[in-house]
Symmetry: D2
Subunit: 242 residues, 4 copies
């Protein structure tokens, strides 16, 4: 597939407009920083969408023309309308890739796809985080060294109430004594899903080159595979029965 | 764990009361037949619950004292109240085992736990079904030969819209030309889940000794593991930070 | 990765030189047919290697410049020298992709990588085979319909003594009553491995367009991911201990 | 299965006879300490075997009457005879459970079963280790809190060159900055395998009550499942072909 990949970066976009600490780091929003980083790959065409746009910026038209959707949310998960969650869910099952970032673990769409609470431990004390690769050779690790180090991050700790990942790519070490499954691959229907832990709003994580690299790798990995649509329901037999 | 296992067999119990073909095979309901089979193991204490009882027979009290819940439903999935589904969901995450049978694939609780539609192909033409073991040595296969043969069954065919099973135990061959992942293990939270395909209401499948054996094995496999409850939320560090 | 993919198709190449039924179908060898099919993708550069060449055609130089190796063997597994098996093993762990075809299930290299006997059931009676996709959306299924049908093939049946696949892509239905896990993905070290069942030497399976398509998809999927080499052994601490 | 479980604890038993630091902690050998702990469960019958006994203490008779084998080795992996490794391998595939402890990661039998080098990082500086449970509800975690803390242990760090575990039960945090997949479940043939990381010979790890508990849980989890033996080879069709 040499063709263009259409990516939509969705962001709640509230912290950046109400908290100076956040806007100092992401003046045009976390989505803008991520979009800009992805745009370096000329094969990726990026647009953004945010909570307070009509239909949260996720109209049928936008979603139907999105190959991979990124999701960052935190304080307003409850404001995401169920009808839009249904729409995203359907698109993922139909093949759209989904990259869930950081506090997006608690979004309705991630909970819906996982079937669990997606709850976890957390602490905002600027722990050091070191993400170790435990799936060497996985496409999402392209170009990385043997770990990613982030000087200051919010801590997320186990238990992380998710299904066992189909592929566990990263496990984080935190200076405060915890570990966390911080890079996790799933497939649901025809869609590929990647959860990636780092990215607290008060810290410059999305400016980190390795974090940007992982997100770009994940986008390419999650690209839809063109193939037949599933056929469900009552079906005649393919062989003469008995 | 030598102690008694408390099992609740839940059944929609509608077909048996409206369709003579079904009541001829399961005069007191599918749940009664399954319960009777399980009762042969004196370490298992069984009760039943059905849709038309108050709270569908699944009060807090019943669920809290249930180690493993079995679920058979078909024509009335939509009548199961969401509040009861929430309750069962919570109990599974807290450790209760769940065995989902046949058309229960389309129940609200299974869809909730899987995060997918759980849709599939089907055909009611009394195909021959042969369930091959692909996880030899798994506790759910205890006492079986190398496959289970069922002379007549409803066909379920792929694609089966579920997450890839953590352990795939059985794959079915059907005389009409299809295959199906017919025995699938999952864990969600502290709970173990097993989906087992056979069991069409118009056929004597639940009288089949190997089918009964699989269900009894699955009940033992899905028994809760006593261990600490998960601790979520804001948490102080275990180590001196920096 | 827009760069060229270097592929080596390895074949035992004995049947074709001793059995007219085989040479009628694959006059220049199974490897030549597969190589020709792969060559349609201009981003793939193919060469071949066979058992009776010096070092089985798999010199250090050849292997070190191979991104993905395909392996077909049958009657002469025992003649493959252990030193060459070691060499291939090392290269797979270092990132080279490996596609094991049909009777290659019983090759030394596949057994070494799997850690099991890789034994199975078989029958040469020209069963009909239908390979159902059970991992919709997987890159290896690109461009396929919902199943692949092969009018005549050797039957392989369960139990197939392999570790549970990391991703199970295809399950085969056979007219004689068996099923088989016929498309299975693994990773070992940095290398990706795909086992693909069809391809009996007396049948024109490798001329089948869908079989060719799967093999080409698998080659692209198994391409190495450029990333840091693993660092093993005694290592100083990254943090001040205590 | 209320019947007795027959367990054999195998130990290299060299450090204890040559190094006073080790014999001070394990005067009769690591195997004796583990065996004694397991014996508290009256349903478990334990014996031990060591490298320097004839046939390493693993005669056909011993292995054939062993339900679960535990393996501790370190400095003399190369002295374990290949014929004995073959014998153990065969028994595992036939259903015998295998618990591989600590430096046993580099034993011939574990490498054979995994198909990889099983290499890793290490450091002997008495790091603090904290094993976090990432598979809550798994039988091997019975009776545990949310983590196990070991004040001083040898560090093992990623990359750990193993296949992705079928179930990852524990991940270790080390004070020096590393993480490690320290509790990993596999099945091979009919046998269940559990790798458990802690247990350096110069430290009293096997006297730790939670470590003893995990080992006992693992033994019960790895018990063989009585079921049909696999049937391989040429086989007549079950259905009339065409």
């Amino acid at each position: 597939m040499s063709s263009t990949l259409h990516v939509t970066v969705w962001n709640e976009y509230r912290h950046e407009r109400s908290d100076q600490r956040v806007s100092a780091i992401y003046p045009e929003g976390i989505h803008a920083t991520i979009a800009q980083a992805l745009s370096k790959d000329t094969a990726i065409q990026v647009r953004t969408a945010t909570l307070d746009e009509p239909e949260h910026g996720l109209t049928e038209e936008v979603l139907n023309s999105t190959d991979v959707l990124l999701w960052w949310g935190h304080q307003a998960h409850g404001e995401v309308r169920d009808a839009i969650v249904d729409r995203v869910h359907k698109r993922v099952l139909a093949g759209m890739g989904l990259i869930v970032l950081h506090s997006g673990h608690y979004s309705k769409i991630f909970q819906r796809l996982m079937g669990t609470t997606c709850n976890l431990k957390w602490r905002e004390e600027n722990d050091k985080e070191r993400l170790w690769i435990v799936a060497p050779g996985h496409p999402i690790t392209e170009g990385l060294g043997e770990y990613i180090e982030i000087e200051h991050e919010e801590m997320y700790g186990e238990p992380f109430d998710i299904p066992a990942p189909e592929t566990l790519v990263f496990v984080s070490w935190f200076s405060g004594g915890e570990i966390f499954r911080s890079g996790a691959c799933y497939s649901r229907g025809k869609g590929k899903i990647f959860y990636f832990r780092p990215g607290h709003e008060t810290l410059p994580t999305y400016h980190h080159p390795d974090v940007q690299r992982v997100i770009a790798n994940a986008v390419r990995w999650a690209a839809p595979t063109p193939s037949a649509s599933p056929i469900f329901g009552n079906t005649p037999s393919l062989e003469k029965s008995k």
